[in-house]
């Protein structure tokens, strides 16, 4: 079975400081992992994906994530938060051959001016 656990339901950072959103996954086989962002009243947008190539994945808007198999983690980071980063972030796992994606419960990022 596959699942993801987002360890923080809410993260608050000051503008210009680093962002860390944590995600641990559980998967029977080699997973594909994604981070999606959801701004209020908007659709989900793909930030980045890991599909067994490089373990450090760079995404849009300066975000990146590192796949660590030994820790079963896929944490999302950004060196310097912008006000526009305030949104809900979802860690997502897809298992080889599976049709659907499994979403975490989300982390709400607040950026303080």
């Amino acid at each position: 079975a596959q699942s993801v656990t987002q360890l923080d339901s809410h993260v608050s950072v000051s503008e210009g400081t680093p962002v860390l959103l944590r995600c641990n996954y559980s998967s029977s086989y080699s997973p594909s992992l994604f981070w999606y962002v959801q701004h209020p009243n908007k659709g989900l947008q793909l930030l980045l994906k890991y599909t067994s190539a490089a373990t450090l994945v760079k995404g849009i808007n300066g975000f990146e994530a590192e796949f660590k198999k030994s820790e079963t983690s896929f944490h999302l980071t950004k060196p310097s938060a912008h006000m526009s980063d305030a949104a809900e972030y979802f860690c997502v796992v897809a298992q080889t051959g599976a049709n659907n994606l499994f979403f975490g419960t989300g982390t709400r990022l607040t950026v303080i001016p």
């Binding site: 659709g43 989900l44 947008q45 793909l46 994906k49 298992q95 049709n99 659907n100 989300g106």
Partner: protein, 115 residues
């Protein structure tokens, strides 16, 4: 080009009414998904189409939920005899290929409120 389009954007239904939610995927996208997102939760899988074939409907919560994609493009999610627990945002997503590691493109969702 245009993204995934969903209509209506908001729907209020009285308990017991039937509703139909529409999804226009990105043109040419083979795969289409429906997800249900309850307040404060992550999206949960409902059903999956590859072209016109509904290959997985394991996430549909009851037989009141029905989805179709008769010509392999537009899809409709129908909920019969709505209940309060059906209140949620219904998200549609499409994907260019059937490959599991291709990203999904999501619409803005339909927010259903059952009163």
């Amino acid at each position: 080009g245009a993204g995934v389009s969903q209509s209506p954007r908001y729907k209020v239904a009285k308990r017991g009414q039937d509703v139909a939610l529409r999804c226009d995927p990105i043109s040419g996208h083979v795969s289409l998904f429906w997800y249900q997102q309850a307040l404060g939760q992550g999206p949960e899988f409902l059903t999956y189409f590859q072209n016109e074939a509904q290959l997985d409907k394991s996430g549909l919560p009851s037989d009141r939920f029905f989805a179709e994609r008769p010509e392999g493009s537009v899809s409709t999610l129908k909920i019969q005899r709505t209940q309060q627990e059906d209140s949620a945002v219904y998200l549609c997503a499409s994907r260019a290929a059937s490959s599991y590691n291709s990203p999904l493109h999501f619409g803005n969702g339909t927010r259903l409120t059952v009163t």
